[in-house]
């Protein structure tokens, strides 16, 4: 079977993901699809202790 490659492009569905997160003092899990119904901004950056 051909592997489906997700491509992040304007007008296409945002590839879903789940990841561990540090959020308001707690360690938690975050899933992008949990934010459906709201706008979401994904901000990638190279590394902590640098600026964004």
């Amino acid at each position: 079977m051909e592997e489906k490659v997700m491509v992040a492009k304007v007008g296409k569905s945002a590839p879903d993901f789940e990841a561990g997160a540090f959020s308001n003092g707690k360690f938690t899990k975050v899933k992008l699809s949990d934010y459906k119904g709201r706008w979401a901004v994904l901000m990638f950056y190279p590394a902590d202790f640098t600026f964004v």
């Binding site: 492009k9 997160a21 540090f22 992008l32 706008w39 994904l42 990638f44 190279p46 964004v52």
Partner: protein
């Protein structure tokens, strides 16, 4: 990070959640927040900082840099249907502009609210005139809009 954290309320007012993503662990995120970021934003970072171990999420979004093993400064604005509506990518040494992020969100939300009946011209900010795309506007933009 701190620049966005300091203006988080403006994102919240627009019904926008912010997720930041780097290849650091959640423990490093906590250490950075607790040791440095709280000195810039008193309550600390008010949104989730995600641990993208191995750059898996960055790879999905095309911003993971294999050689350095870090994510570039990719920005993705996702609408309530889960559709990507805007992207931009900057290299590590260049920071983003929070005003421009908010402006893009407001423009996207305006276009969505009008179901595409209105478009926002260059440098548009809320309150400024919009354009109504259609046959009547072709060749006539100069009558209704001029660069400032």
């Amino acid at each position: 990070m701190a620049a966005v954290a300091a203006r988080y309320q403006e994102f919240q007012d627009l019904n926008v959640e912010v997720l930041t993503i780097s290849t650091d662990t959640v423990f490093t995120h906590k250490a950075w927040n607790d040791s440095e970021l709280v000195r810039m934003v008193p309550e600390g970072v008010p949104f989730p900082m995600l641990a993208d171990l191995g750059g898996e999420i960055g790879s999905l979004y095309g911003v993971y840099e294999e050689e350095e093993k870090v994510n570039f400064r990719g920005l993705f604005i996702v609408d309530p249907d889960g559709i990507i509506q805007a992207t931009s990518v900057l290299p590590p040494p260049v920071g983003r502009d929070v005003d421009e992020m908010l402006r893009q969100i407001q423009a996207l939300q305006h276009v969505r609210a009008t179901q595409g009946a209105e478009a926002t011209p260059a440098c548009w900010t809320p309150g400024q005139p919009t354009l109504k795309p259609g046959p009547d506007l072709v060749g006539k933009v100069w009558k209704v809009w001029k660069p400032s």
